[in-house]
Amino acid sequence: MPKGAGSRLPRSVGPWKKGTGEKSRVPGLRTLAPIVPNANAASQALILVIAIMSFLACLAVGAVSLVNKSAETWQSQIAREATIQIRPGDDFDMDAALEKARSLAAGFPGVRGARIIGRDETVALLEPWLGSGLGFDELPVPRLVVVTVDEAAPPEFSALRDTIIGSVPNASLDDHRAWVDRLVSMARTTTVIGVCILVLVLTALVLTVIFATRGAMSGSQHVIEVLHFVGARSGFIARQFQTRFLLSGIWGGLIGGGAATVVFLLVSWWAARNIITPEGEQASAFFGDFAIGAGAYAGVFAVIVLVGFLTALTTRITVLRTLRDIDDRRADPGRLD
């Protein structure tokens, strides 16, 4: 057997270089083609579909996480304060009443501190409704004392109310309970709706990944059969396809998840920039500081992992089912394809 001097073949030579016709020349070989054919239109569509669905799923995760976090913020911010309101009256020393209410409240167990909203601040608060240059003293404007509550050990609100009302005429205490309750139930409803949408989107994601993977694999029947007939074990064949489609899945997931992350960052940036404007302040009052929490980013990561896992698993099941099909046909010659 003639063994040329160069039986070790250089791999670097390009794949399509034709033989030169010289018999003694040892040709260069390209790196082995992958066993599963390289990306075709179907697998590019698979990546695209997975990217889009991952994007939507990540947005849903982010939105739910945002709403959930905002709900917590509302709840704690509002529950952190109570307000004592003192209405003016005839022959009524407002300043003394304010000071008395403040000191009473501040000394109460479970109260962190109490602060009188001063004249100027009150005027500023009313300005949006009443306009500037209003004669403050001519109007019977009630005055407020803001009581900061220790959230961990809130005061006995009914006792506090009795104390204040008993000692300070024209006073009432608003513990914001009505607001808190309403906001909590609203936040809960929003979160439940968000979670429902998230479940729907995730279900759609799972189904899309499964069907897109199966679609992308439908052209691979021939390859599976040939591998089977040249003596490859089922596990080997499944592994080849799995790895390929796992990569497609993760790639699609990364594109979708990456796009969603960019959206999150943009929203956070926009919110941070606008927080100084009145609209921004209103928005941030509702949605907290718009910071998309670590939860959302963890969600994006989870979506990518889920997508990769699903594509790999679907591929494996499809390959094994195809092989079982070949074997069934073997057992049952009467079955027509």
């Binding site: 073949l9 059969e225 490859a232 073997r330 009467g334």
Partner: protein
């Protein structure tokens, strides 16, 4: 050419002997000898006893077919188109199970073979399909190396063998070509090379000369004969009488579902 293939065989054999490691050389030699003797004891690779096959509710394509394929034998399987040649080859390759009768392959009852065991048994059988079944995204070289690749072998360990074999079938200059650009005869030879690369004990070829002109058919026939002389049993399904007349070989003739054998 024969020498080349013989050298190929021998190199493998001695490598296998050398690879066996710590066992003393004499022991190894004795072992391989014993294996050879044991395997030769029965002298047959495949045995059919009263095999019948029907597709679905259709008529029996094969009826009471009994024969065996001896080791290192050469035979034609013939009969008119539609007589059941492909069906019989599929039974031999275990891609069909008989509706009745007993098939023994490598001393195993086919009905008892587990699906997981099939790939391992198939590795001992080389098949040339009527439609070749090459993978279009792989070069000729890669297609021929595929059986070894799926057995988990490193490319460096078989590279040289594949190139030698491709030279042997006359495709030494076409190793980079992809199957879609090949002529029928070239595809045929790639399929043959792929069937031979792991040195099967038996080669099954379905109409291997169906797509080629007469000179090429003769060339392929010579190739099969050389292969047979090197020890591989060969079954060629063909309806080409001219081809069979060139060789004085065993003939298995299918007609009306029955098999007649002319030694």
């Amino acid at each position: 050419m024969i020498e080349m293939y013989a050298a190929l065989v021998n190199r493998r054999f001695w490598k296998a002997v050398a690879d066996a490691g710590s066992v003393p050389f004499a022991g190894r030699l004795l072992y391989s000898f014993a294996i050879a003797v044991l395997a030769n004891r029965t002298g047959r690779l495949i045995k059919f006893e009263n095999v019948g096959l029907r597709y679905g509710m259709g008529p029996e394509v094969l009826r009471d077919v009994s024969f065996h394929i001896p080791k290192q034998s050469f035979q034609f399987l013939t009969g008119p188109s539609g007589a059941g040649k492909t069906t019989l080859l599929r039974l031999l390759f275990m891609s069909l199970r008989p509706t009745r009768g007993l098939i023994t392959i490598f001393n195993k009852d086919m009905a008892m073979i587990e699906p997981a065991e099939l790939p391992l048994l198939r590795r001992r059988i080389g098949v040339v399909f009527q439609d070749f079944r090459l993978l279009d995204h792989m070069t000729i070289y890669e297609n021929v190396g595929l059986p070894l690749r799926v057995r988990g072998k490193e490319e460096s360990s078989y590279q040289h063998d594949v190139l030698e074999l491709l030279k042997w079938v006359g495709l030494g200059e076409r190793i980079h070509a992809l199957p879609p650009v090949l002529s029928g005869g070239e595809k045929q030879r790639v399929a043959i090379a792929r069937a031979l690369i792991d040195q099967p004990e038996i080669l099954l070829a379905d109409e291997p000369t169906g797509n080629v002109d007469t000179p090429m058919a003769q060339r392929l026939l010579r190739l099969f004969l050389e292969l047979n002389r090197l020890g591989t049993a060969v079954v060629i399904a063909t309806h080409d009488l001219g081809l069979m007349d060139q060789v004085d070989a065993r003939r298995m003739i299918l007609s009306n579902g029955q098999l007649e054998i002319y030694e």
